[in-house]
């Protein structure tokens, strides 16, 4: 029955969106973390979504993998920092907080929409189960 498939599809999307929210949270949390070399600096993480054909024929979504941003970490001259290298530079993360905020809003909006879809589908399924019980 397709109505039950909707639950699988929406829940796969909810799982994917919450992974996205998770990476956004860890990116924002590490936005101001400094490191002593560009390699050690925190790189912004982003999930990659992919359509997946489920066993029941539904097209859900899954997280195919998490990519790390290749943007250059900006060097900061801060000789007093205990992490500074021999030239007095520290390397901060390449997280763009504005981008992350937009990601967060988009993820939570899509998550909400999927919850609404699930809620409506549940109501429809309940009404279908009560078919013919009224007067």
């Amino acid at each position: 029955m397709s109505l039950y498939d909707v639950f699988n599809i929406s829940s796969s999307a909810m799982a994917a969106q919450s992974t996205r929210l998770n990476t956004t949270a860890s990116n924002l949390a590490n936005a101001n973390v400094d490191a002593s070399s560009p390699e050690e600096a925190y790189k912004a993480r982003n999930p990659v979504f992919q359509t997946v054909l489920e066993a029941n024929g539904g097209r859900g979504v899954k997280v195919a993998g998490i990519t790390e941003s290749q943007a250059q970490a900006a060097p900061k001259h801060d000789p007093g920092n205990p992490l500074a290298d021999e030239n007095g530079y520290v390397y901060s993360s390449n997280v763009n907080p504005v981008e992350e905020m937009v990601n967060m809003l988009s993820a939570s909006r899509t998550y909400q929409t999927n919850v609404q879809v699930m809620d409506t589908t549940k109501q429809l399924a309940m009404r279908t189960l009560q078919l013919g019980q009224g007067q």
Binding site: D5, S12, A13, G58, T113, V117, L124, G132
Partner: protein
């Protein structure tokens, strides 16, 4: 039994199956709103309904048997599987190749949910009508 079923519910049982399929398609589009390269799918309800009715009338005449499928991913010949899906034409495709318009899909989903409920209430009134008839109007 199939003749009783067909006369009892008329077109509404086929309509319910199609509405259900429609809702599933909307849910798929909404779920893949952020998937790169995903193309939003739509189905023509009018065309699907017409095909379903043709299948119904030809199977009533006993001339055409329906294809059976063993896997939901296979295409069959029944009312629910004669649906032609197409790709929607986007107003503004995203740079990542995704063509889902989330606002449009939300409105469409609400619309389809109302359509499903309408069909359900038609079915409900059919059942209560039959009940009344069986009970002699009491």
């Amino acid at each position: 039994m199939s003749i009783i079923n067909d006369r009892l519910f008329g077109i509404h049982d086929d309509a319910l199956i199609l509405q259900e399929r429609n809702l599933k398609l909307r849910a798929e589009n909404i779920a893949n709103a952020d998937t790169p390269g995903y193309k939003a799918r739509v189905m023509s309800f009018d065309q699907a309904m017409e095909t379903a009715l043709q299948t119904k009338s030809s199977s009533q005449a006993g001339s055409a048997g329906r294809l059976t499928t063993e896997d939901p991913r296979q295409m069959g010949g029944g009312a629910s599987s004669s649906i032609r899906e197409g790709f929607s034409v986007p107003d503004a495709p995203a740079l990542d190749g995704n063509t889902v318009d989330l606002d449009k899909e939300r409105v469409g989903f609400t619309e389809d949910a109302m359509g499903y409920q309408t069909t359900l209430s038609f079915l409900n009134s059919r059942v209560s009508g039959i009940k009344k008839a069986l009970g002699g109007g009491q």
